[in-house]
């Protein structure tokens, strides 16, 4: 496989990441959201190992492996068990209706591309073109966290945002040091556990996963 073809493949997988980010934004079902999240992790792992192959940065192989284990297998499995126990497989309520969300999403993509363009010109990496896509992915997941009303989709939005940041690090500077990556991975894992416990308490207290109820928690 020549370097030129590999670079094109990296670009293709980067576009796939953006596509999956949009699909998550448009998705109404929690279960499909989790599958999409797993797919995003898989694409990210493939992309990272491609970058590792092109640049010869061997520590990126470990990051790809970490992504594969954590984000394709472990986290989706935890989330799957979570929604099984909470019995919330289907419904996702959005604050803004989905076509409007998508329109805002396109505006975010344009912003992301525009902001990343000058940064990308400074960078010397082969993957500099994909920085805009990474930024757009982060913004899109961020918006997913904002527009979703229920707890579980917000958690998935958070995790997808971490995916985007990881991808941004890969495309701008060939990834963070392995220690930092391990730390972030652990943080995400612990964060998911805490979110899981949090959603259980939320349901016990209010009999619903709608986080608007938290606003009622005031000291009298």
């Amino acid at each position: 496989m020549s370097a030129a073809l590999a670079t094109q493949l990296i670009n293709l997988f980067a576009s796939l990441l953006l596509l999956i980010a949009f699909a998550m934004l448009a998705q109404r079902r929690v279960l499909s959201l989790i599958y999409l999240f797993a797919w995003q992790g898989a694409v990210l792992a493939i992309n990272t190992s491609l970058v590792a192959f092109v640049t010869g940065q061997h520590h990126l192989y470990y990051s790809a492996l970490l992504t594969l284990v954590l984000k394709v297998i472990l986290l989706p499995w935890i989330l799957h068990r979570l929604i099984d126990k909470l019995n919330v497989r289907w419904d996702v309520e959005t604050l803004v209706n989905i076509p409007t969300t998508m329109l805002i999403g396109v505006v975010l993509v344009i912003i992301g591309f525009n902001v990343a363009m000058p940064i990308a010109h400074l960078s010397e990496t082969v993957t500099r073109g994909t920085l805009g896509i990474a930024l757009a992915c982060v913004l899109l997941s961020f918006m997913m966290m904002i527009t979703r009303r229920k707890a579980v989709p917000q958690v998935i939005g958070f995790l997808a945002m971490e995916n985007g940041l990881f991808f941004a690090a890969t495309s701008a500077t060939y990834g963070m040091p392995l220690v930092v990556e391990l730390g972030v991975a652990l943080d995400v894992l612990v964060g998911t556990f805490i979110f899981g416990i949090f959603t259980f308490h939320l349901r016990e207290a209010f009999d619903s996963l709608d986080i608007e109820h938290i606003e009622k928690l005031k000291e009298r």
């Binding site: 073809l5 094109q8 493949l9 670009n11 293709l12 980067a14 576009s15 796939l16 953006l18 596509l19 949009f22 448009a26 989905i98 076509p99 998508m102 329109l103 999403g105 396109v106 993509v109 344009i110 591309f113 363009m117 073109g129 994909t130 805009g132 896509i133």
Partner: protein, 316 residues
């Protein structure tokens, strides 16, 4: 020159004759996937022959418009068959219209069909016409945006040039085209009354869109309308093949390459038809009020295709 015109004519005749076969193939695949035996590949031809032998019945109030529409619509689709490079690129008539004009030709056929449905004044015809226009006005901008990505890559809006550029340049992966392909597939499903938007096999009054428009037609008029619908499906499929998997299409006036092109075309159509049937079997029909969402999604994907193309390849 005369050889080129001959190839051009052969291509158009081939597409027109192949259209019912393709529709039959899709139906056959659908039947197999649903564990039925299916009516056979040649069923659309038998239906057409039967309809051409019948006497036409017209409503009392039918105007000239109603009678002219089948011919106009069929004519539009035949014109499209001339323009789309199915077998060879760079044929004599292909410079006559680029992709934007092609979208216009499809729109012309559709507008006349809607007018004819309203002309009779039945409730179903009017309802169908309104729904058809609802789907169409959302699908058309999406279709145009889909065309702009390959047009940017090849610096031309002529289908023939686009195919030429994509098929004969050294192989490059264009991520923008992947987005455009998905968007195009969605537009194809919507425009040809396929399953997420409309069910081509339904005659249930409240859900049908496309069938409602043709409810009052009979005999040769109905045959032409059906044939035009088959042609439209084939035209969209061949546009998709030309844009996204153009390999195998011959350059004009290359005798031996034409046979290769014909074999490639048949193979690609067989795969595309089976894939279409699979897609239709796997998905459920959307509520009509979800159709705008579906098509907005197609439009946004096409815009994203343009944006990623500009980001990843425009600067380089």
């Amino acid at each position: 020159m005369s050889a080129a015109i001959g190839i051009q004519l052969a291509q158009a005749v081939l597409v027109v004759m192949l259209a019912p076969l393709f529709a039959g193939w899709v139906n056959q695949c659908r039947a197999w996937l649903q564990n039925r035996r299916g009516p056979g590949l040649l069923q659309p031809y038998r239906v057409l022959r039967k309809l051409f032998h019948k006497d036409a019945v017209l409503a009392h109030r039918a105007s000239f418009l109603f009678r002219a529409t089948p011919y106009i619509r069929f004519g539009c689709m035949v014109l499209a068959a001339y323009i789309i490079p199915t077998l060879a690129s760079g044929l004599p008539i292909s410079p006559a219209a680029d992709v934007i004009a092609l979208v216009g030709i499809f729109a012309l056929g559709r507008v006349f069909m809607a007018l004819a449905a309203m002309d009779i004044g039945t409730a179903f015809g009017t309802m169908g016409a309104r729904r058809e226009m609802l789907v169409a006005f959302l699908a058309e901008p999406a279709l145009l945006m889909v065309f702009f990505t390959p047009a940017l890559i090849s610096q031309s809006t002529s289908l023939s040039t686009i195919v030429h550029t994509l098929a004969y340049q050294p192989f490059v992966i264009h991520p923008g085209l992947a987005f455009a392909a998905i968007a195009f597939l969605m537009v194809l499903l919507a425009e040809n009354a396929r399953i997420p938007i409309d069910n081509p096999a339904t005659h249930l009054e409240l859900t049908m869109i496309h069938e409602a428009l043709m409810l009052e037609y009979s005999a040769r008029h109905l045959a032409l309308m059906d044939w035009a619908s088959n042609l439209k499906l084939l035209a969209y499929t061949t546009i998709g093949l030309a844009l996204f998997v153009p390999w195998g299409i011959a350059k004009a006036l290359d005798g031996s390459a034409l046979w290769v092109a014909l074999l490639c075309l048949l193979a690609k159509l067989a795969v595309a038809g089976a894939a279409l049937a699979l897609l239709e079997t796997l998905s459920a029909k959307l509520r009509i009020f979800r159709a705008p969402e579906f098509l907005a999604m197609a439009f946004l994907l096409a815009v994203l295709g343009l944006l990623t193309h500009v980001l990843l390849e425009g600067a380089a």
